[in-house]
Symmetry: C2
Subunit: 724 residues, 2 copies
């Protein structure tokens, strides 16, 4: 997961049925529920800390060092707000600061003093301050007579009220996390740090050595780390970037371990995993295998091809598109791994058998039958209903995904409607608390806007819209397109897209910001073709949204029931699916066997980097690293047990997208590395955790120190760390 964390943004919200019995090192455990863990067992495996030292509501424990940042995770490693995270988590910030003449992404960056640090534009860091069970508040007013949509809206309104109240102090950002599919709801309060700066990032060819070829794979040889710094106002409050800001005072920061690491050593990950779907129903897995993954694999492959063609021709576009290409590639490879893993694991058949057994269990008991007898059938009906609009929804979503102009127009149009409502009646993304962010993203659109990519990807998605089956047509597209053209040939599509792109002014910042303040009527008066497109697609999009809300409302009732009956059927120590909140997973350093007669060792080495080195991207180490290698200048960074400088290592820890940059902590509470990827054989772990082959891929702390020291001479960063 060189862009592991991007999954959060890319993956459509998976309707996860969130309950699983823990086995082996499975489980991403909420910090408020650490008591469910067997600490005697963990101690026997090497953990020297008790639950309170990991997390407690008073002083936080070591988990207080762990932040959510850039869509991934990170941790403070100094009292002055220094954050270590993955290279690929900082990627977007560095991309935005790069130009053809000053390509920080390619050449790396080191601020020798705090004054040299540069803004990580658009980056925030969040520190979790508290968890609170708000289940009864969220479910207040929900009653059995409600329709699915009414239930959805009641739940949403309650959530908004709770958040509004909790966010009265402007420095915190709150969210309500559904746990066990809505069986419980937790209010998560986070301190939001808005001034993040770039301290150090290695060359792309260290941080992402092996690129998309090695992504999701082991053996790996990435120095996937970077350093950021959190700043706040002089009074300690959250503030946007400003000269007078001061480093955030972080009380908790793990020391860095420079000691030996061996197979079998205890390892703990604390971070912000995004989404898992360990107990999805068979209906949902069927949809993934037979519809969504094959579609994704085809479309993402095509879209990457388009962006790569453009990048070869145009170096400026290449930088602007780099993040998207990276994200798409990451998601494409992930989807391929998922599909392969889903098929290979036979999960669908297993799941069907399990549901059959559960049905038998329910049927055997009249009381259970009365309460849970229709749950599975209702879940199936819910999925079947959704399949009716699946293709249409995927194209409408695809239009927003590929077209910056359309998604902007859609956002502006929707905003012009939402803003006339009371705050609590708006959709969450349009509430006052998010207005500032919406405005900022309108400003920043320019950073990644490439006209040729816009045009060609929009053509691609328009053609897909025109190929939709009769019962899932998008009337708005049909109307606009067939007024302009008679036939849906490629040329007609090109003409159509060029015409609306030529006619729009949404590619200008000024226009976008001006439109932000317009009413719906004023917007329509501009006659901008993308605004018109947004208008023509509005009703259909809203209709699908309503359907989706009703489906969510149904699931909010069905999933908790399913969790309950599963729990009745199979006793066990359950953990909830990942939901973007802070979690702990435990495990150990360990290799694996990916195939008959093949063994993977738990650690890779600097010699392995040189073995892959070709001088051609993505296997082109910086000259300085090659020089260090050739001169045998390894300092104290050689691990005598492997006779080499360690680079990356594997652990059995559970994890998923969003965990990128999470600290890996040993039994003593020292940072031994950063989680940055899942192995190919383990990708399917989002659905099905197989302890035999699921591994987390981590960059070794000693490799970070070695690179800082020998390649960059980053003494200032090293001095700031506490190295054990």
């Amino acid at each position: 997961m060189s862009t592991f964390h991007k999954l959060i943004a890319c993956v459509a919200l998976i309707f996860a049925f969130a309950v699983a019995t823990a086995q082996a090192d499975e489980g991403m455990w909420p910090l408020y529920a650490l008591d469910n863990l067997d600490f005697a067992m963990l101690k026997a495996r090497g953990l020297e800390l008790g639950p309170d030292q990991i997390y407690n509501p008073q002083d936080g424990g070591i988990s207080a060092a762990v932040v959510q940042v850039g869509g991934g995770s990170g941790s403070f490693v100094s009292p002055d707000g220094l954050i270590v995270t993955n290279h690929h988590v900082a990627f977007g910030a560095v991309q935005n600061q790069s130009s053809v003449d000053r390509n920080l992404l390619k050449n790396g960056f080191l601020a020798k003093t705090m004054a040299d640090e540069i803004p990580a534009v658009g980056y925030n860091a969040y520190v979790t301050k508290s968890f609170k069970d708000v289940t009864s508040d969220v479910r207040r007013g929900v009653n059995p007579g409600m329709s699915d949509l009414e239930r959805y809206e009641t739940l949403e309104k309650n959530k908004k009220l709770i958040i509004k109240k909790a966010e009265k102090n402007g420095d915190v950002k709150c969210r309500i996390a559904a746990v066990f599919g809505g069986k419980e709801y937790y209010l998560i309060t986070m301190f939001r740090i808005r001034d993040i700066r770039i301290v150090q990032i290695p060359h792309l060819s260290i941080g992402e050595f092996g690129g998309d070829i090695d992504n999701w794979m082991w053996p790996r040889h990435c120095g996937d780390f970077s350093f950021l710094r959190a700043y706040v106002a002089p009074d300690g409050s959250s503030a946007e970037f400003a000269e007078e800001n001061v480093p955030y005072k972080s009380d908790r920061y793990p020391p860095i371990s420079s000691g030996h690491l061996a197979e079998g050593d205890f390892a703990m990950i604390i971070g912000y995993p995004g989404r898992t779907a360990r107990y999805r129903s068979s209906f949902s897995i069927d949809e993934s295998i037979n519809h969504s993954y094959p579609r994704t694999i085809e479309r993402f492959g095509d879209l990457i091809g388009i962006m790569e063609e453009i990048s070869v021709e145009d170096p400026v576009a290449a930088i602007k598109l780099s993040g998207r290409i990276k994200g798409f590639n990451n998601y494409l490879k992930n989807s391929k791994g998922m599909l392969k893993g889903l098929v290979k694991s036979g999960l669908l058949a297993k799941k069907r058998a399990q549901e059959q057994e559960l049905s038998n269990f329910i049927v055997a008991d009249p009381a259970l039958t009365e309460k849970y007898g229709t749950v599975l059938a209702e879940l199936k009906a819910n999925h079947d209903e959704q399949l009716k609009f699946d293709e249409k929804e995927s194209v409408l979503g695809g239009l927003s995904m590929v077209s910056r102009l359309y998604s902007t127009a859609r956002g502006l149009y929707k905003w012009s409607i939402e803003k006339t409502k009371k705050d609590l009646d708006r959709e969450p993304r349009y509430m006052e608390r998010n207005v500032e962010d919406r405005k900022r993203s309108l400003e920043r659109m320019q950073l990644t806007y490439v006209p040729e990519a816009e045009q060609r990807m929009l053509e691609y998605m328009t053609l897909r819209a025109l190929r939709l089956p009769a019962d899932q047509r998008i009337a708005g597209i049909d109307k606009q397109f067939y007024i302009a053209a008679r036939e849906d040939t490629a040329q007609a599509v090109t003409n159509f897209v060029m015409r609306i792109i030529d006619g729009t002014r949404l590619d200008e910042v000024k226009t976008r910001l001006a439109m932000f303040d317009m009413s719906t009527e004023e917007l329509l008066k501009t006659n901008d073709p993308f605004i018109k497109l947004a208008r023509d697609l509005y009703d259909e999009t809203e209709e699908l949204n309503e359907r989706s809300k009703a489906a969510s409302g149904a699931l909010a009732e069905l999933r908790p029931k399913l969790v309950e009956v599963y729990a009745r059927w199979r006793q066990g120590n359950y953990y909830p699916d990942a939901n973007g909140t802070i979690r702990l997973s435990y495990g150990e350093v360990k290799g694996y066997s990916p195939a008959d007669a093949v063994s993977y060792k738990y650690v890779t080495t600097l010699s392995g980097v040189l073995e892959k080195e070709t001088g051609i991207p993505p296997f082109n180490s910086p000259a300085k690293l090659l020089e260090v290698y050739r001169s045998d200048d390894f300092g104290n960074y050689v691990d005598s047990a492997i006779g080499d400088v360690p680079v990356d290592f594997l652990t059995t820890n559970d994890g998923t997208g969003g965990n990128s940059g999470s600290p890996i902590i040993n039994g003593k509470g020292e940072l031994i590395g950063l989680d940055f990827d899942t192995n190919w054989e383990g990708v399917v772990g989002d659905y099905y955790f197989d302890p035999v082959v699921k591994r987390s891929i981590c960059v070794d702390a000693r490799y970070m120190l070695f690179i800082l020291d020998k390649v960059y001479g980053a003494q200032n960063v090293l001095d700031e760390l506490t190295i054990h």
Copy 2:
């Protein structure tokens, strides 16, 4: 090397400079020189046999069981001429017996009785009867005043005379093998068995499980074995297929080991390796890296693409082309591995450094300088001269390779000229001893002739001819083509090729056989366009042949000198490069590490077959094998140390193309498997033996027994074997 043996036919004769100092398990040792081996060391490693038990001129020793067959190797495994060899060695014979309705290749074959055995058309088996040093006879009359061409012709004439005399007994086939680049010459006398029949061959999806994807790779899961039987006339003399023929009486045949095989166990391979080039000069390696391999990779890739397109459309063509596609794919993948290995090993730089050191050694001694001072410079001049015609030669060779019609016409035309000469003055391939074979191959051309492939591949190569640089034009092609067309467009090329194909009658057996008896004049009178093409290309082809002969004549002098001076420089125990004669290599069962953090075990398992199984070729095991697996019906074939049925294993033995089907023999003289491939990392071993990664891939004898027993119920074959 599922078609490992095909290399002999495909690889243009490598001008090998054949001398290397043995290290580790390097070396393919001639049987007449076993005394050079350290038998005390071999005994310590597990060999229980003495040199005389392996080979002696009187009763042969166990090596007398080893035959050369179908371009590969094999060994007798019963007293009744039963031969075990690779599936891919018998492939061509089975392909010729297959049809769309009766696809023996796909479905496998088992003769339940001798009467059911079917002819392996075109196959011979050769048993080496004796070696004789004939160096002085071959070099008789060679003197320093001769030109290179004169030297070549003197050597050739001497060889012919020696062979003619030696072959007086019609049952033997003789050849003169140059050893150490011509420092020594050996007369090899072989008994030729001409009636070979197919006894058993597994399904393609067992014998070649993994196909071109797994070819040259480890871990491997092929049952790459088959059984043939040798027949002779009732009086024991060599005879073509005839009802009354009787099984050949093989005195020597190794028992089959069904016992445990462990890492570190001693292993010995006896077989017929084709060509190695371990001590090629830097000039020659330069040519390989920068010219011949890149060219081969491009052309073979294109030609395979053409044949595959045709095969998809036409199932009859698919069978007819299968052997060629297989051979081309094999060679293509091999070439890629070679190129990668040559670059990665840095052999060119090493070789240049070595030659510099050798030069320094020579220059330091006036006596050496006088004798060897110009050897390297002359070798370089020889290679430089050859580069001048390299492109032209590759296209002329390519025309013969792709076009059955042209190569036939060229052979007939040349034969009409050669047959007017005295036998000893003819080129070897046109001497009386080979006439019968030539005629037979004219008959058999039909078996693999596919008109569409002929046309499209001929177009491909014609276009290459028209793209040759000005100083390497082929006048005959230019003349014929530009008379027919003004421009060398693809369409003009198609028209040209279609016209000559339409006009020829060489696609009829009758015509070909009739032409075989014609004089040059009569041939030309037929006005056949391919005969005309052969005529128009004749002078240029002959001129290149003459140049090539002169180059060989020069090398016949230079190489022995280089061997001598290398031997003076670096004392050591030398072995000659492989040259198609019977050799022994020793080693042990052993895995390896192909890359940082990756280990390959020495053995694969039946569970590994199932792990790769997809149901889609080339990973589609026959239903019966899947059934056996699912029913856990493994008999005694489970190796308790690995808890599974062993499939393939690795050894450190030296080997190369031609070794396919060679018996792997343990310290007791039992057959433990068959060599069938070299691993990807070891492919470059033809130039450079790296003991760390070079491995031979072998099918385990126990897998052969398991498949025969459980999948085919081949009790008759099992009963004939001696199983220990």
